[in-house]
């Protein structure tokens, strides 16, 4: 069962009389990489800063581990925010990473051990005695992450980590974040407007637009691509399903299928769609995105029973009535290989 580390309710933040953030309800799940995706000015940085209380809460409520952050400051020692363009303190890399540890009363030996560990996690062994002013942009970014991770926080809040790095360094940041999650097991909340990065890194994607959370519109499947003799690339999901995708070069870890790309039918039918799955209706909800639209969550069935994979499809309300779609009913889902986007 997923536990919420942060809950946000009725949050509203205004700046110069204009509302920059308005969120009715949003939860962040413990231990997952959650990505806030949105264009510039969509409120991503404001939300991250509010989660770390670097901005004052104007209205609404944010709880961390069940406690309101405006009433209880225990979140402060367990969460850390890293700026889009991080600023290092003057002195050495060691001084920077040791700063948070010194504030927490770590001994000299503990500090040295933690600094060495975090520098190794971020791939900067041997940098401890370098001056902070003698580092490149990418190195500053990694030192800032090391500084944040040194005291083993429960939540790492990262603001636009890829905004000022080249494509090669985006890949490095991705592996660094995955290594951090594996080493420390912490929750990572990232803001970005880099779509491929967001899909590749996320366990969960949250779209922000004009300060509001936009309803999810796509299924994101985790897995890996496998080359076959067929004219398609095969994507093997973590739940051992094969999804046919367009044949493109590279290795991918996420397959994305829009809700509106999936067809529902009572029985299998012959078509040009390469992907066809049998599933059971798990939940029917009114689509938050448009009038008279319904989101149908389907649990995909293996030949030996239910699997852990679910797919959501968006259909019209009349279609729900016409095909008598109700919870528990078995149906077929079909979509074309070209409807699958790989990241």
């Amino acid at each position: 069962m997923n536990k919420n580390i942060y809950t946000v309710r009725d949050l509203c933040f205004t700046y110069n009389n204009s509302t920059v953030l308005s969120i009715k309800s949003l939860d962040f799940i413990q231990g997952k990489i959650q990505v806030l995706l949105g264009p510039n000015g969509s409120g991503k940085t404001t939300l991250l800063k509010l989660l770390n209380r670097l901005l004052p809460l104007q209205s609404g409520e944010i709880t961390f581990d069940g406690k309101r952050i405006d009433k209880d400051s225990s979140f402060r020692s367990k969460t850390v925010y890293v700026h889009q363009n991080p600023m290092l303190l003057s002195g050495t890399v060691f001084d920077n990473i040791a700063y948070g540890l010194k504030l927490r009363g770590y001994s000299r030996q503990e500090i040295e051990a933690q600094v060495a560990k975090t520098l190794s996690v971020v791939g900067l062994e041997g940098f401890a005695h370098r001056k902070s002013t003698a580092l490149s942009g990418g190195e500053i970014q990694r030192v800032a992450v090391a500084r944040a991770m040194a005291f083993n926080p429960a939540v790492l809040l990262l603001d636009e980590p890829t905004s000022s790095v080249d494509r090669e360094n985006v890949g490095r940041i991705e592996s660094l974040l995955l290594r951090i999650k594996k080493t420390y097991g912490c929750t990572i909340i990232i803001s970005t407007h880099n779509l491929p990065f967001a899909y590749r890194i996320c366990d969960r994607l949250i779209h922000l637009e004009e300060g509001k959370v936009k309803p999810t519109e796509e299924n994101i499947l985790k897995g890996r691509t496998v080359k076959t003799d067929s004219p398609f690339l095969e994507f093997q999901t973590e739940s051992a399903h094969s999804v046919f995708c367009p044949l493109i070069e590279g290795s991918f870890s996420k397959a994305v299928i829009g809700y509106d790309r999936i067809l529902l039918s009572g029985k299998p039918f012959k078509s040009s769609a390469r992907n066809s799955f049998r599933g059971r209706v798990e939940k029917i909800t009114a689509s938050p995105h448009g009038e008279k639209m319904t989101d149908v969550k389907m649990r995909i069935l293996h030949c030996n029973g239910e699997s852990s994979m679910t797919l959501v499809t968006r259909i019209t309300e009349p279609a729900v009535e016409e095909f008598s779609i109700q919870e528990g009913r078995a149906l077929w889902l079909s979509f074309k290989a070209s409807s699958v986007y790989l990241y």
Partner: protein, 227 residues
């Protein structure tokens, strides 16, 4: 004029006792007054920056305005307090080194406070946010900010020192330009020039310029080395 320059250099390099006494007196007054002013202005500038109170902006504007305080006005003000008929007349401070130092402290205090306050305000907001997110309490933030702004503070102190070593109004009105006692470089320059004796005035002027340049060079080197 050429003779004046030759005589000025002769005075500097001959080790003239009076010239060196005057230079030493000037440095002594300026260093002591700058140190005393720093002692109060560094904490005050930091306090103003880190605290919220009504009319904070007004205080900032007032400090800025006081930076241009005329030296003769300060001299006059202190004079009215320490002259025989003034409220502190019984302390017999007038025409003593203490009087000059008091005047110079009043002169440099707003400069130092204002420059330190505005210097701290210019620290990138990410700096404070970084400290807070790493778990710093307010006292830690203040300590780290002062350390981070140390070169701004040093520059402010040097600006204050520059102001007092070059002033003449306070030293003249409160020190009285007494030979072998309160005579400073600026009061000597003023006196000797009015007498038409350029040599001593010029030699002291050259020394004053050398001191000003040396102080700037030291600050520049200090900042450069630590960048």
């Amino acid at each position: 004029m050429e003779n004046s320059f030759t005589e000025a250099f002769r005075l500097i390099f001959s080790g003239d006792r009076e010239v060196f006494f005057i230079v030493f007196t000037s440095l002594r007054f300026s260093l002591i007054s700058t140190a005393i002013a720093s002692l109060f202005s560094i904490p005050l500038g930091t306090f103003i920056h880190f605290s919220s109170f009504p009319f904070k902006r007004g205080v900032g504007a007032l400090l800025n305005a006081l930076m241009a305080l005329p030296t003769v006005v300060v001299g006059l003000l202190v004079f009215s307090f320490i002259s025989r008929s003034g409220p502190f007349g019984n302390l017999n401070l007038l025409f003593t080194p203490a009087a000059v130092i008091i005047g110079q402290v009043i002169l440099s205090f707003p400069i130092l406070t204002s420059l330190i306050y505005s210097g701290l305000s210019k620290i990138d907001s990410r700096f404070h946010e970084t400290l807070i997110t790493l778990g710093a309490k307010k006292k830690d933030v203040i300590k780290a900010s002062v350390i981070e702004a140390r070169f701004i503070i040093i520059s402010a102190v040097m600006a204050g020192f520059g102001r007092v070593i070059g002033e003449v109004g306070v030293s003249m009105m409160l020190g009285g330009n007494i030979r072998w006692y309160t005579r400073t470089m600026t009061t000597t320059i003023s006196l000797e020039t009015s007498k038409g004796d350029f040599e001593l005035g010029l030699s002291l002027g050259i020394i004053l310029m050398i001191i000003a340049l040396a102080v700037n060079a030291v600050v520049h080197a200090l900042v450069k080395n630590n960048e």
